[in-house]
């Protein structure tokens, strides 16, 4: 178990994108408790690409803990790429996560973050939420 755990972490930290995606897919099939434990250290990494992977991975485990971690990430994260992915992951939690997305839209100045929130609400019957993030 520890051996596979190590190889999974190595894959997650690999510079090769395909290996990272492979690791994320493996993590998605694992028990949430175990997967989230592996993802938390990545959330605190200095490398934005690893933080991005972490928030992507958390989106595959719809638990209150991962929702909490993602909402926390929205508040402390400064990188637009990571914020964008965190928003995408949070969207899967449904309407309970939408107020945080609206807030993110209004607090971020980055086009990628704003476009992300709009694109997410566009992908479904969420006219009321879309109205709150009208593009200026």
């Amino acid at each position: 178990m520890f051996h596979s755990n190590d190889s999974l972490i190595l894959k997650l930290r690999s510079p090769a994108l395909n290996l990272r995606i492979e690791a994320l897919n493996e993590l998605a099939k694992m028990p949430s408790e175990y997967a989230i434990k592996l993802l938390i250290p990545l959330l605190e990494s200095e490398d934005f690409a690893l933080r991005k992977l972490a928030v992507m991975g958390l989106g595959n485990h719809l638990t209150p803990q991962s929702q909490h971690l993602l909402q926390q990430a929205l508040m402390v994260e400064t990188d637009a790429n990571v914020l964008s992915e965190a928003a995408n992951s949070l969207f899967d939690f449904g309407e309970s996560a939408f107020p945080a997305l609206v807030q993110l839209y209004h607090t971020s100045d980055h086009w990628l973050v704003k476009k992300t929130v709009v694109a997410l609400f566009t992908d479904g019957p969420y006219e009321d939420w879309l109205a709150q993030v009208q593009e200026s």
Binding site: N18, S84, N88, L120
Partner: protein, 141 residues
């Protein structure tokens, strides 16, 4: 379109910094070859990332690049669409190739030699003014 995107997905799995450019170029190809026609709605960003296994930022940057190229447009609260002018833009030449002007050396000393000979009576000044016919008629009277 799904099959074409599957082919696209096969080509975008490798790690490259310009991944979004690759996605944009492949989508542009779909517009060029007529798979995507003007007015067609593009896949939603979330569907695109699912089909291509790319990140959301990659998908959004690809759509933004296509917007910058004038090929697609975002309609508020609706999504991305192929612009009616997309094909026209793709068929127009990107720039006109102007051939450089050929410059020849000109020997200025020849001009000075001619100027210096103008007082000589046996040299006709072809550049001199010629009176109009009206003036000549008056002169002949």
């Amino acid at each position: 379109m799904a099959t074409d995107l599957c082919r696209l997905a096969a080509g975008v799995g490798h790690p490259q910094s310009g991944l979004y450019e690759e996605v944009a170029n492949r989508l542009q190809d779909l517009i060029t070859n007529g798979t995507l026609k003007s007015g067609d709605r593009l896949l939603s960003v979330r569907k695109l990332i699912q089909q291509l296994s790319v990140s959301l930022s990659t998908a959004l940057e690809a759509y933004r690049l296509l917007e910058d190229r004038g090929l697609i447009m975002a309609r508020p609260q609706s999504g991305y669409y192929v612009k009616s002018t997309a094909l026209q833009l793709l068929w127009e030449p990107h720039s006109t190739q102007l051939s450089p002007k050929v410059c020849c050396e000109f020997d200025m000393s020849l001009a000075f030699q001619l100027l210096s000979k103008t007082p000589e009576p046996n040299i006709i000044q072809l550049g001199a003014a010629v009176p109009s016919l009206d003036h000549l008629a008056k002169f002949l009277k």
